[in-house]
Symmetry: C2
Subunit: 402 residues, 2 copies
């Protein structure tokens, strides 16, 4: 079946659904298991780290007790490898009983009792990426109902072991099925990532109608190279991607790896800054039980979070790529404010970058800027004032200007 035939087929499905159900007016914040804990199902030898109800309860505890929840990190999201290999007699997905003996409904209650929300994972295809039961077209409705019955608040719908036609049918069908349950659930679609992430294969208008967020590109890994690869792709394609985002509809460059093993302090600040500029979901995947203070401070930076959560929801753009390997990013914010990020791609030493707000397209006038990671103010900044900032190798300077 060609793409055209599939499009016609898609027309048969009622698309009166829209997920404009008031959810995710700002990008979701929370914690997700995948990048840090992968498909560790070895609860015998690695009980603290295996994918089990204990892990998610631990993270819920930490979110509440360590100040994350009050900052907005509210979703606790299960990723792949939670399922039993078999559906139950009624054809419903069920968790692997040895690792989730209390069931997902009880876990959801635990999460809700902590004032948090529970996310879960399924896959639009014959199997999940790690080989657990998939959600083929005829299972979409029952799976949506199962998740709703458990009290799930968020679904990540992956796309391994599917094909473009099934995706074109399945992602909208799941949107409709989730809506039909009556339970408000955020809906994260991996669809575009399986189509290369770009128009014309990806229809971001349609995605914005059926999904609250979507993964456009490859999975993040625990390395600076991976972060940079993602940043490159999102900003190289900003003309296509930036207009797709807005309140209730977000591009998702994948999880925050801050607090893990692969990023220096400067690189961690860079991920936080650039994810804030992208209006990206702030979904950590780390071990909240073991995190050093510098990572915690970066992830809990209130101004970086406020920039990410700006109610206008306008995704930022890369303004400049200098020959010096300094790059400048800009995002408009509410109340005539804006955010600037100066990123150094250098690998030598701090670079003294000379510019002015006028050179960065700011209108004439007087400004002041707050340095987000240094916590200091730059006052009396006229648009024409030349200034110099020192940007560390693989680090950023992030300003909130007004």
């Amino acid at each position: 079946m060609g793409a055209l035939a599939a499009t016609q087929l898609l027309g048969l499905i009622s698309l009166s659904v829209t997920l404009d159900n008031g959810l995710l007016k700002t990008p979701p914040m929370g914690w997700m298991a995948w990048e840090r804990f992968r498909c560790d199902v070895d609860c015998r030898d690695d009980p603290e780290n295996c994918i089990s109800e204990g892990l998610f309860r631990d993270m819920a505890d930490r979110l509440v007790e360590d100040g994350w929840k009050e900052l907005g990190y509210e979703y606790v999201i299960i990723d792949d490898c939670w399922m039993s290999m078999l559906r139950d007699k009624q054809g419903r997905l069920q968790p692997e009983p040895s690792r989730f003996p209390s069931g997902i409904d009880k876990l959801a209650r635990y999460i809700h009792d902590h004032g948090l929300k529970l996310g879960i994972y399924a896959d639009m295809g014959t199997h999940t990426c790690m080989g657990f039961p998939g959600t083929t077209l005829e299972k979409i409705e029952i799976d949506a109902q199962t998740f709703a019955s458990w009290g799930v608040d968020y679904l990540k719908f992956d796309g391994c072991y599917s094909n473009p036609v099934d995706q074109m049918l399945g992602y909208p069908l799941m949107s409709k099925a989730l809506n039909a349950t009556g339970r408000p659930m955020a809906y994260s679609c991996s669809w575009p990532a399986y189509l290369g992430g770009l128009p014309p294969y990806v229809n971001y208008s349609l995605l914005g109608e059926i999904c609250h967020l979507w993964r456009n590109y490859y999975d993040i890994q625990d390395s600076w190279d991976s972060v940079l690869g993602i940043v490159d792709w999102f900003f190289n394609n900003q003309d296509e991607l930036q207009p797709a985002a807005g309140p209730g509809r977000w591009n998702d460059p994948d999880m925050l790896i801050i607090g893990n093993f692969g990023l220096s302090v400067d690189q961690a600040r860079s991920q936080m800054a650039l994810w804030a500029m992208m209006a990206a979901p702030l979904i950590m995947s780390n071990d909240l039980r073991n995190m050093d203070n510098s990572a915690r401070a970066i992830l809990q930076n209130r101004v970086a979070i406020a920039i990410n959560q700006d109610p206008m929801g306008i995704q930022g753009r890369r303004l400049l790529q200098e020959k010096s390997h300094i790059e400048v990013y800009w995002r408009p914010l509410s109340n005539s404010a804006s955010a600037l990020v100066f990123l150094s791609r250098r690998t030598d030493m701090p670079y003294l970058y000379h510019t002015s707000l006028a050179k960065l397209n700011y209108e004439a006038g007087n400004y002041e800027a707050y340095d987000v990671f240094m916590g200091s103010m730059v006052k009396r900044l006229n648009a024409t004032t030349d200034f110099t900032i020192s940007v560390n190798p693989s680090g950023v300077v992030m300003w909130c200007a007004r």
Copy 2:
């Protein structure tokens, strides 16, 4: 002139020199300006960081006051960009007077008064890499004498703007000239790096006779990719390089970048561990005035330093490259001890690696192992005992076994 003719020409030079002058029986330790401070000559706008006598005095102060000297970090080494663009009327190199107003001799006295040693930089060629006056063949003698007269203890002799024939003549000539001054000076040769680092172009037997250490490969940069690239090259070529090293003759994979901007804590431990295994010079290039505690603890790890400084001076080797992307390195040490490093090239999560000492070629018997970075002992380890270690992504576990 072909290589053969040059070899014949070289035969005309008396090579009765040997630098077996008792220096560097263990790899040198200290601090060098280049990787962190490069050719920053802007003392007006960047007075704290420019290449000037103040910078080296600052670092000498820190080496003494912050506990580095007592651990063995004793050399303070000037790199490129210290010179005046003009030699003096007697044809001698002189420091740029605005940045070194007191002269190198006074700086040497300051360094010596602190119980430290001073290193300096020159270039076997028409210019230094950054375009300052080079040491062409006819200047070798006067430059060696100048350095000796200033009280210099260590010369890094770079090779920009030279050719293989000049190098073949110049590097041995400088060795002879340094010896002829009567002042014991350590001699670091960049020669092999300019010849690709490998036999047959590089003669490591000759290098071992004329130089105390040598740079074999590209300059390090402030990134994990750079560290890994260097590690790959040195261990991929270990059959050529490992036998070249020994007391008084060291391969130099370049500076330690720990404490700068590009490495995570795990990656910093990996550099320290692998440099210790390589019997590499432990020459930091960082800002000793601004360093976080985790970097300091890694660089000041007494056991890692002791492994690096083992008096047998046998360079370690890579034993295994597993399909799991765990690699195992081994170095024999004095008193029937040995060091093991388990490196993870993974970018996902800590990996549980199962092995035994017998599988790592250890003889039958009982051992105990000290975990260098965790500070814990593993006792009652029979060679045949299976054990499991958890290795972080881009991190190491380092053991000292006996």
